[in-house]
Assembly symmetry: C2
Homo-oligomer: 406 residues x 2
């Protein structure tokens, strides 16, 4: 008997009918001889409904109170799912963050899990109960409710699976696995049976929406087998493994696209190391991730300094940096929201120099100007005008013959 | 500076506009020099919406899970109200049952508070924060979420006020005080400036919907001044006091009406004390209150045994007693839902024998047959066919000249 943690996202539990279907999936897993802990999101639309209520009161509501508000969404789903399982004659119990000791820091809205106490979970499982956990939520040291930010329910599932030493963590979503690229952009995209952890990490960090980066990182920490599959159809999904890559396979395994990028340029920043250090410290202290850092237009002791941030963070970045304009000494802050990032991912890309050449050829063949290009061991990324994103994805997918690999 | 606990029910917080209005009431109270702890219900309609979701899954959902589900309603209101106060520039914080240690027994759906730990509350008040507490909820010893049943948010407010030794507990509702009777039935009903605790206790137990019985009892335990007032208009409401009654005032202070009664009759029950004891023990163990116990139709060693229960309990009563029919030995259980109870309340009624005579005269004058009449120190009650209830209320209100007393 293996312990399996199953996570069900918003669309998987988007209606009473869907919750009933999820109850059947969980019971079927149990009947195959497994113990199941399920982690659930709010019913789709519910979190937005709650945030709208808050915004009727305050356009920037208290972050502590916003967390108290939105965590009710997962609590509702967890109790309804437990009821559905109990009605089918199987013992079940819903538990919240404080009941299973999910302790986080106190960064409301994007807290990080510090520890999980599995006593209550183990106790309920010893009583053969299916445990339904409200995802996305935690408690800080003072007992205040926190939320884990984007992809938070995935994070809860992975961290619980790690703490419980689960055999597998299954992320049920509305797509049936990880694809070579977004099938809505490229109809020839193909589901991968397996993907290595390192490749998945890059896919997630580059905007493949199937799994959130933080949950993939956490899975890697525990070397936890992670499976992405659909609650809407029967399919084995995609298994994320920790095997050594096969060096004979095609170097590129996927193309990732992200529109959640905003390009920030600080014009005529003094070119002094302590200024750059001070700039990046301000952003780091606010918990803001920056990417594609580039220096442009060197003129004597001034540079134009550009980087991308997640679009959710850009208001905060503008506010923080405008506030520091005098001490940082830049002349103007320019914000470009009409950008997107396209990337190809594969194990050992850097040793395949021809891939970089093919990347540039594919882009230029479509007359797409890639402003910023960065390369690493695992990926090649380019920032481009957002309107060219779909075209770039299709061109790269075709260039690297992703329809036919494996 | 006095500490005031204010409770706001469902209609008082029924919309974002109403929540904004309540924020203003609380801030105004604070600006008058008081410390405020506010206790809130779910927005009106929200609890029913949640229960409907549960009933889509199971007509008799798990009582533990139902409590997890419905407590989200108060959590939503508490966070929204805290946001509204914070936006007005006043520090505020919402707290849930586990955060202020509201410990209850484990009778899901109708739990009783065993203890409150005021440490966190006092700590927040020392920081000059207005504390908003989610009403109606508790935690049992194992940390499971419980709810306090009917009138639960009133109970939370009164118990908190007692534990904090508050100067006054103010129950804001959609009526501006306690009336001589229901103004929807008798337009001449008059608001009472004051009412004694004992009278209020009878009013509540007899179906005057302003305050729930359990919260009045709890207030009496602490000898807590309790004020009923409206969040929709400015009025001093009605103050419930612990003063000795003025024996020169009119003996009757109010007429109460209740349609939440169901008459249960057990036909041909063996007339043996141990049978009656066994019957009442079954009901007591299920936490069901019985009223107006009467024995009818004595025939040799058989009786017809009748009593009333709250309409919410009658399905359970029928199920419990039908299950015990063989051991109890009755021949038939008859259930009459078309009944109602009317009562007159006043201090020292029993010493005013003319009141009982007037009661019967008023009823017979309207040709109303009162099947069961019970009297006590404080009240005279009659069970009658439901269709006569309004007529009976008006007749009694007029008989005892309640328009003009005080």
């Amino acid at each position: 008997m293996a312990l399996i943690v199953q996570k069900f996202g918003g669309t998987s539990v988007g209606s009473i009918e869907r919750i009933e279907a999820v109850a059947d999936i969980i019971i079927k897993t149990q009947q195959q001889g497994h113990q199941v802990v399920a982690v659930v999101s709010a019913m789709s639309g519910e979190t937005n409904r709650l945030i709208s209520l808050a915004h009727e009161i305050d356009s920037r509501p208290s972050s502590r109170e916003l967390d108290v508000l939105v965590t009710t969404g997962e609590q509702v789903t967890a109790s309804l799912l437990a009821m559905a399982i109990i009605r089918r004659g199987h013992p079940a119990i819903s538990l919240l963050a404080d009941q299973i000791g999910i302790q986080t820091d106190n960064m409301f809205g994007k807290a990080r899990i510090e520890s999980i106490c599995t006593d209550r979970l183990n106790q309920e499982m010893e009583h053969n109960r299916i445990v339904i956990v409200a995802g996305f939520q935690g408690r800080d040291r003072e007992g205040n409710i926190t939320t884990l930010g984007r992809g938070g329910t995935d994070t809860t599932a992975v961290e619980l699976a790690g703490a419980l030493k689960a055999a597998e963590c299954q992320i049920f979503t509305d797509v049936d696995g990880v694809y070579t690229t977004d099938p809505r952009i490229e109809p020839n995209a193909r589901r991968l049976e397996q993907i290595t952890f390192d490749e998945m990490l890059e896919m997630a960090s580059l905007g493949a929406k199937v799994l959130h980066l933080r949950s993939v990182e956490a899975a890697g920490h525990y070397r936890l087998p992670l499976r992405v599959l659909s609650s809407f159809c029967h399919s084995k999904g995609t298994l994320i493994t920790y095997e050594e890559p096969d060096m004979n396979k095609a170097p590129v395994s996927g193309v990732a696209a992200s529109k959640d990028e905003v390009l920030i340029t600080l014009k005529q920043l003094p070119n002094q190391p302590q200024i750059l250090a001070s700039l990046l410290t301000v952003l780091a202290e606010a918990g803001i991730a920056v990417d594609m850092l580039t220096q442009l237009n060197h003129q004597l002791d001034k540079i134009d300094y550009a980087f991308t941030v997640h679009s959710n963070d850009h208001h905060q970045v503008i506010e923080l940096l405008t506030h520091k304009q005098e001490s940082l000494g830049f002349v103007e802050l320019v914000c470009d929201k009409e950008v997107a990032k396209v990337s190809v991912i594969g194990i050992g890309l850097k040793s395949h120099v021809e891939v970089i050449a093919q990347f540039y050829t594919a882009m230029s063949h479509e007359n797409i100007r890639a402003d910023l290009v960065t390369t690493s061991e695992m990926k090649i990324s380019a920032l481009l005008p957002q309107k060219y994103l779909e075209l770039a994805v299709r061109a790269l997918h075709s260039t690297f013959l992703l329809e036919s690999i494996e």
